[in-house]
Structure formats: structure tokens, C-alpha cells
Amino acid sequence: MLAFEFMRQAFLASALVGLLAGMIGWFLVLRGQSFAGHALSHIGFAGATAALWAGMPPLAGLLIAATAGGMGMSLNNARHGDRDIAIGLTLSLAMGCGSLFLYLLHGPASTATALLFGNVFGINQQTLQILAGTVLAGLIGLGTIGRPLLFASLQPELAEARGVPVQLVSTCFMAMAGLATAICTEVTGVLLVFTLMIGPGATALRLGLNPVTGLCTSAILAIAEAWGGLTISWYTDAPVSFCIAALSAAIFGLTTLFRRRG
């Protein structure tokens, strides 16, 4: 299986993506922003199709749109219910824009499929370098704001009182969530970013692990689920995205059962 160049690239890409997506995802679940994370991928889709239409690489459009979308979302201070509606509408609008750009593009249907469901076997050397750079930037960001982010997530009023720049921390985090979502799309596609962004983080939190252990577990789970999905796909010929999604859901489900019994 690893004798093929494209498989080695796919394993490497999933490891990079899983590392960042797992950690960012843990915070997204903790902060109750899973839905916002999902919407980011759709905003990224609009960005990717717009980039294609403008003759640019789709990953560039994904990264820019998702990061900007994340920062915009963090500035929305609406109440929880209103926020859900705003996110839902933004998500649909973004998908609508994506379909418009695809129409203007007159591109083949495979372009849309690759974006929506991922194309991990088509990752080239250059994309891999962009992924590595993005992960490095994300990890540096997380290493810088990790402590205040955890404080502001768990005890927002207290963090504000202690002088934590809560809004700034939140905006930085959502920008990083945009980066993670954009690169996650390369592996799982726009529609399935939940599998690597949310599944592992939710599992780690459900296990009741402490923050640092939970963050690491989430990243390891994300990588393991991505690699497991690639392996299953290799032997069964089922689509990778399906395999990763099934593994992610199964592991989360098992944790729930285990917690009930235990």
C-alpha cells in the first residue's frame, strides 16, 4: 500500500491535517462552536469555487475565505439562538455562491465532487507544502493563545476580569479554526469536515480527559481515524471520506456506550 507515491502523500497529508484539526476541534467542541466550524467549510467552498473561477488554485480561496469567515463570525456577538440562525443563513448563502461559481465556471462535475467529498489521493507535493506551512502556523498560534483561550472558553466573565483580551483571543482562534477547516477539506471534503474536526474532539471531551491530555488524544484520534480510513479504503475500494466518517462516528459511539456502562 505504501509502495505508491500517492498513498504516501495521502498518509502524510492526513497526519498533518489530523494534528491541527484534532486540536482546534477539541476547542470548537468545548466552546460549543461545532456548527460554526461546519459553516466555515461551506464558506471555504464558496472561496474555493471563486478562486477556480478567477483562475487561482482552489486551496488559496479555501484558506482565505474560511479564515476571513472565522474572524467575521467571532465578531458576531448575538445571542445563542440568533447566532445559530445567522450561521445557518451564512452557510446556505455560501453554498449558493459556490454553486453559482461552479455554473459560471462550466467546469466538470468532478471538480465539485473533489471539493465536496475530498480528494486526498490527488494531493501533490506543492499542496503538501502548503498544508505543512498552515499546520505549523496553526500550531504556533495555538501555542501562543492556548492558555488564555482555555481560560476564556471555560470562564469568560472571569477571564475578562483578569484582563484577558477575550475578543482578540476569540478572533484569533476562529481565524485558526478557518485555517484548520480549509486544510481539512483537502482530506475529507467540505461536507465531511465534521469527521476530523468535531468527532475526535468530542470523543476526547466525552472521555473526561484533562485539557492537555484531551488535546493530544484528540489529535492522535484524528490522525488514527484518517489513517484507518485510508487503509480501509485501500482494501475495500470504498470512498476514503466514507471510511473516515464511519470510523469517526463509530469511535464516538463506542465512547458513549463505554461511558454509560462505566
Binding site: 482555555l150 476564556a152 472558553s153 470562564q155 476580569a161 483578569r162 484533562n210 485539557p211
Partner: protein
């Protein structure tokens, strides 16, 4: 003598509305003060102003002789909103996240500190700290958050409704624990509450807020029909039960 808190004709506006109007009083260091008043009287706003989160509109407000500013390390704070974020994380993880959480850097790998363990022991909460935060009762959670507020040797403790939504037995227990802890360390404490009764014998002063105005004094001075009637601008009766409990009720025109 230094004053812990000093207000001089203090006005505080929030979204164009005057919440606190012309407050002038001093609170000596080491006092334990019950902050009473109806909903919306400005108890939380007063706390937020002390923390430097809500700006002073007019007048002066100083803490230990210095003007208020945000991010003071010597204020322990227990916010009113009981957020239930991270219910599966342990209480200890929650408290550790607040410690040094205002510094940049990666999440702390430390599981605990000596100071935290000592405070937890004093609050009889060592075992509670290892359980998932979401499985604790209101009173148990309150004890852990109180431990959090005590860390870092604060000189002033602001407890916003620490007794809200506790059952009567727990109310007295949390109030007594708080009182003992604060008195033993000589900390100045402001405890906001809806009802003075669980705090009788624990606080030595009452700060009563109503209609934007405030009166401060011993419970016996403040919790009287004439003082409260003047503060509310409407007749108010104050009843003393034989048990020592005090009840405030709408009065009838004489």
C-alpha cells in the same frame, strides 16, 4: 486607616441609562459586606465597575487608594453567570485553567498547586475537585469556584450571588465557609445576595442598593423601615422574627 473601597459621588451609566447615582461611601479594609437590593439595582454593575470592566461615568472610585483598573491580580472574583462549559472536565482542571490563564502560552501541564490543595482542604472540597464539573451540585460547584477566587492571595473578594439557587441548608453552609475563610485571612469581601438571612452574623456591614442609590451601615442601621422606605421611595416594612431572621415586605401607608 486605608479604605478598601472608596466612592465619591460615583455615577455609572450603562447603555445610556444611569445605573448607579451619586454613591459616596468608604469600606474599611477587612470588612465583610452584604450587597443587597432588588434585581436590576446595580449590584453586578457595581462589581463590574470595581473590576474595571464597566467605566466610571462621573466621580471617583478607588481600591486601596488607587483608581480602579482592569486586570488587578489582588481581586478574587466569583461571577454570577454559572456557565456550564466543559461539564466533563474535572473541577481541578477548571480551576487550573483560571490560574495564570491571563498569560500567553500553551495550556499549563500542571495538575495542581500547593496553594490550591491547601484552599481545597480548608473548603473540604479536595474530593470534589476530581469529579467531573457537570456532575456536582450547585453548592459543591460553588465551593470549588470559591477556592478559585481565593487563589493568588486576593485583598478583595467579590462574590456575585454565591448563594443563588442553593437550598437553605447549603446556603448557610457556603456562607459560613466563606465567612471563616475570609475572616481568617483579613480579606475584604463583598457578597451580593437577595436575602440577608443566610449572611446574618457573618457580615458586619450591609450595602443596600435601590433605585440607583445606596446606603451603607451595620445590618441594624440599614435594615429598618425608615431607611429602606426612603431608599425605595415607597413604604417598606421590616419584620424581625424571634429566630433573629429579618424580612423586608411592601409596607402600607400609615
Amino acid at each position: 486607616m486605608t479604605h478598601a473601597i472608596s466612592c465619591q459621588t460615583l455615577d455609572v451609566d450603562l447603555a445610556g441609562r444611569r445605573i448607579l447615582c451619586g454613591l459616596s461611601f468608604h469600606i474599611p479594609e477587612g470588612s465583610i459586606v452584604a450587597v443587597l437590593g432588588p434585581n436590576g439595582a446595580g449590584k453586578s454593575t457595581f462589581f463590574r465597575t470595581l473590576l474595571g470592566l464597566t467605566p466610571v461615568t462621573r466621580g471617583a472610585l478607588s481600591l486601596f487608594g488607587q483608581p480602579v483598573r482592569r486586570g488587578r491580580a489582588d481581586i478574587g472574583y466569583l461571577p454570577q453567570t454559572r456557565s456550564m462549559i466543559g461539564p466533563r472536565l474535572t473541577g481541578r482542571a477548571h480551576i487550573m485553567a483560571t490560574l495564570e490563564g491571563n498569560r500567553w502560552g500553551l495550556a499549563s501541564k500542571k495538575r495542581s498547586t500547593e496553594e490550591l490543595e491547601a484552599v481545597l482542604q480548608e473548603l473540604n472540597a479536595t474530593d470534589l475537585a476530581d469529579r467531573p464539573f457537570g456532575t456536582l451540585s450547585g453548592g459543591e460547584r460553588q465551593r470549588l469556584m470559591l477556592a478559585q477566587a481565593m487563589l493568588g492571595h486576593p485583598r478583595l473578594l467579590l462574590l456575585d450571588e454565591p448563594l443563588a439557587s442553593l437550598d437553605p441548608g447549603r446556603m448557610r453552609e457556603v456562607a459560613e465557609l466563606t465567612g471563616n475563610l475570609v475572616r481568617a485571612r483579613g480579606i475584604t469581601a463583598l457578597i451580593s445576595a437577595h436575602d440577608i438571612n443566610p449572611l446574618i452574623g457573618i457580615v458586619d456591614r450591609v450595602l443596600y442598593l435601590a433605585g440607583g442609590h445606596a446606603r451603607i451601615g451595620t445590618p441594624d442601621e440599614i435594615l429598618t423601615a425608615p431607611v429602606l422606605s426612603r431608599l425605595y421611595g415607597t413604604p417598606v416594612d421590616v419584620f424581625h422574627a424571634p429566630s433573629g431572621q429579618i424580612f423586608v415586605a411592601p409596607g402600607r401607608e400609615a
